[in-house]
């Protein structure tokens, strides 16, 4: 029925364009399939190859850049660590020096103190010795002087030296006893 309608339409206004030519369908179809085959075999693989290579090149470049950046960051971190270590070391050295300095000062002060003490002690000892010496000397001199004075007062020389000595000793003992 459809064919009949189409046929009538053709009669009225020339050939009906909606009736396809069988030759054109066959030629169009077959030639198109050949064209698709040519495209599939010769053209698409080459374009895909170019695509794949380009993707690989771009990805490779990006990977290189990433690696370089990573390396740079590692180097920076290393430098920073070294710097921090050096600073720490310097601080340690400074601290040690300060401690040493303080120790030296303390030691010197101690030494000076000890020297001073020794000098003071020596002076004390000397003074005591001189005092004793003076005392001893004074003792003998006082005895002689007292005897002579007593002789002069009594008017005669106390010939008996034994008695004289005894008297002096007694006197001195008394003197010492009163002095104590």
């Amino acid at each position: 029925m459809f064919q009949a309608i189409l046929a009538t339409a053709s009669d009225a206004h020339g050939p009906n364009p909606l009736i396809p030519h069988t030759v054109e369908i066959i030629l169009g179809g077959v030639f198109f399939l050949v064209f698709v085959a040519v495209v599939a075999i010769f053209i698409v693989p080459m374009f895909e190859k170019a695509y794949a290579e380009r993707v690989a090149a771009i990805e490779g470049g990006m990977e290189d850049a990433e690696a370089a950046q990573k390396e740079a960051q590692e180097a920076l971190a290393q430098y920073k660590a070294q710097l921090a270590e050096a600073r720490h070391e310097a601080a340690g050295i400074r601290e040690e020096a300060r401690e040493q300095g303080a120790a030296i000062v303390a030691e010197m002060r101690e030494q000076a103190q000890a020297e001073a003490d020794r000098i003071v002690a020596a002076a004390h000892a000397q003074i005591t010795a001189e005092h004793q010496q003076a005392l001893a000397q004074l003792k003998t001199e006082v005895g002689g002087m007292a005897t002579e004075l007593a002789g002069r007062i009594v008017g005669e020389s106390l010939a008996d030296s034994d008695a004289q000595r005894r008297a002096v000793d007694r006197f001195l003992t008394e003197l010492e006893g009163s002095a104590n």
Binding site: H13, G14, P15, N16, P17, L18, I19, P20, H21, T22, V23, E24, I25, I26, L27, G28, G29, F31, F32, L33, V34, F35, V36, A37, V38, V39, A40, F42, I43, V44, M46, F47, E48, K49, A50, E53, R54, A57
Partner: protein, 272 residues
């Protein structure tokens, strides 16, 4: 009347006659160049084949070196190839399955595009797809490919179920839905595909012929000042329609390829 019409069929130059003959379907039936056996070799047949050969040579030359940094020719080739591959095939079919269909879609797009533009190239000036047979051939190939691809993925019965039974529909509604889906997905698609391409090319060419022949008739045959003015306007319209046709011709190539890609994508998709 019949004699005038028959003379206008054979040679376009003889169209000039006392009475104006509006161009019609008869003007699309060009005389054959040669007759091989019982087959008349006509202008669209020859142009279709020559276009295919030229396109194959051009893209072979463009793709031949396949360099990472493309030259001018390769860049031009890749521009077209990339449009079909990425914007049409990959976006419609999905990035896992699209590659096997790229040759077909690329061939469809380039062949339709160039055969359409032939309609505007002086001296050639005849869009191949204004002959229904070529459009039918491409639509049959597209139809076989998308149904075949669907059957390869889902199995024969699985494919019809996939295409005709929408998920989530149950009960008596299925009695209504299944025939409708079958009709729209399996029967109507190839018909609309080839009709759209053919009708656009046919109508566009008919319109151009009308303004060209009409203008010629008005200026050279019916010489009154009003007619001459109308003839000049008619020629002006011819140029404007030509510009419009530039767009339509590209769009038809694009739409045919895009729809084929979408049909394939739908057929091979995992689920609705």
């Amino acid at each position: 009347m019949t004699s005038i019409e028959s003379s206008s069929i054979s040679v376009l130059g003889s169209r000039i006659s006392a009475e104006f003959n509006p161009p019609g379907p008869a003007d699309f039936e060009l005389p054959p160049f040669v007759t091989l056996g019982s087959v008349d070799v006509t202008k669209p047949m020859l142009m279709f084949v020559v276009t295919g050969v030229v396109l194959a040579l051009f893209f072979w030359a463009a793709a031949r070196k396949a360099e990472v940094v493309p030259g001018r020719l390769q860049f031009a080739g890749e521009l077209v190839y990339g449009l079909v591959r990425n914007s049409i095939a990959r976006d419609s079919i999905g990035s896992e399955k699209f590659l096997p269909f790229v040759p077909l879609l690329f061939s469809l797009f380039t062949m339709i595009l160039v055969n359409n533009y032939i309609g505007l190239i002086p001296f050639l000036q005849f869009p191949t797809f204004s002959h229904f047979g070529f459009a039918v051939a491409l639509a049959i190939i597209a139809w076989v490919v998308y149904i075949g691809a669907g059957m390869k993925v889902h199995g024969v019965f699985g494919y019809f179920k996939h295409q005709c039974v929408p998920s989530g529909v149950t009960g008596l509604v299925l009695l209504l839905i299944i025939p409708l889906e079958f009709l729209s997905s399996i029967i109507v698609r190839p018909i609309t595909l080839c009709l759209r391409l053919f009708a656009n090319m046919f109508a566009g060419h008919l319109l151009l012929m009308l303004f060209a022949f009409g203008g010629q008739y008005l200026i050279f045959e019916a010489t009154s000042p009003i007619n001459v003015t109308a003839g000049v306007l008619s020629f002006l319209m011819f140029f404007m329609i030509s510009v419009l046709e530039l767009l339509v011709m590209f769009l038809q190539a694009y739409v045919f390829t895009l729809l084929t890609a979408m049909y394939i994508g739908e057929a091979v998709a995992e689920s609705h």
